[in-house]
Symmetry: C2
């Protein structure tokens, strides 16, 4: 029970780091051999530590998603403690949802290029990720948003959180290309600045009136 990191854990971490980076650069289909070569570990170590390539991806996701979601719920708890009843401040709820994604751990930027790929994975995989990491958080934030925008119909609220997630995912995902296509005008740099931009845009969206949906009744 000493404080030193065992060699096994060190290997495990190196695999995780390298796999995250290479899958970000080249996609999930990057060969395990490419990962182990760059990590300077043996191919067998992957199956020893993670059992399969799929499970390695699960571990990559869990390592980044878990602390972000913890931080999100922490911030939301604090917010709710400050406002035990009545309306919650919309901007601050959105900030609790978005800020941890951009700053939380100093290595969140490593999973950026993978985020969009995770969120657009085939259904079966996506359902697993959603059930494991997203359901609970989304439900908590839906409740909080209901208190922040009490006049919004529940379906509309869900749509708007959905839009917010889309903005967030796309911003993470295109972080490295954005400066190129915008001729240097846009850059995902300071977490606070990025979050502020997202929060301002989303909050305005949440506050706008529900569009008149000329619904056709079924005869």
């Amino acid at each position: 029970m000493n404080g030193a990191v065992s060699a096994g854990q060190e290997t495990r971490t190196r695999i995780l780091d390298t796999a995250e980076r290479l899958m970000g650069e080249r996609g999930f289909e990057v060969p395990l051999r490419a990962i182990t070569a760059e990590a300077g570990v043996n191919l067998g170590a992957v199956n020893y530590h993670f059992h399969s390539k799929d499970a390695l991806l699960d571990a990559i996701i869990a390592r980044r998603f878990t602390p972000v979601n913890q931080r999100r719920l922490e911030m939301l708890d604090t917010l709710e403690a400050c406002h035990p009843e009545g309306a919650l401040p919309l901007e601050e709820v959105l900030e609790a949802f978005l800020r941890p994604v951009f700053e939380s751990s100093p290595d969140m930027c490593h999973i950026r290029p993978l985020i969009g790929r995770i969120y657009s994975a085939p259904r079966e995989f996506l359902s697993r990720v959603y059930g494991r990491h997203l359901t609970g958080v989304i439900q908590r934030f839906i409740s909080a948003l209901q208190r922040a925008a009490p006049d919004l119909p529940p379906a509309e609220l869900f749509w708007r959180l959905h839009f917010t997630v889309g903005m967030m995912v796309h911003t993470m995902n295109w972080a490295s290309i954005l400066p190129v296509i915008s001729n240097g005008a846009c850059e995902v740099g300071d977490p606070g600045e990025t979050t502020a931009r997202l929060v301002a845009f989303a909050a305005a969206g949440f506050r706008t009136h529900v569009p008149a949906t000329e619904k056709h009744f079924h005869a």
Copy 2:
């Protein structure tokens, strides 16, 4: 020179249709064998018609992106013709950008699950798609949005169009899961309704004030 579709074109189309659907369900890594089996064509036909699997994907993308972009520019042209000078109506510019994605051809829904995967593909692939199908359209819409929101700094405008794209992509991409996770509350059904929701949210976002970015000057 008769009007009948040659057998070769028929095969080509069947490959395109099946590949689009299967790649949507299972990801790009779906084997060509699975595609040709379901399409009822021979494996060799793929390489005959498309030269390679990569080029097949390019063809899938071109077939859906091209008409959408044409329609977008048509709508924008009409809009600009109606307002030869002065401000453009923001909602209508956004509608020209978004509506064709959801209604244009009746088969746009087939590429939905692929959209997110295309937009989160590895850099090299993404740059190719962006250069081929997106650069021009984005530039045209940036110009139009400058006329619709003249007070917005160019960088902020680009950010906000970027957010809008994220909302759109995520909505396409999660179209089939959205009803499940929202307990039936949300559904991508009528194109007009979906577009209206996106336009309302985005327009409000575009209209909000630029957040005060307490920029730290470098000493």
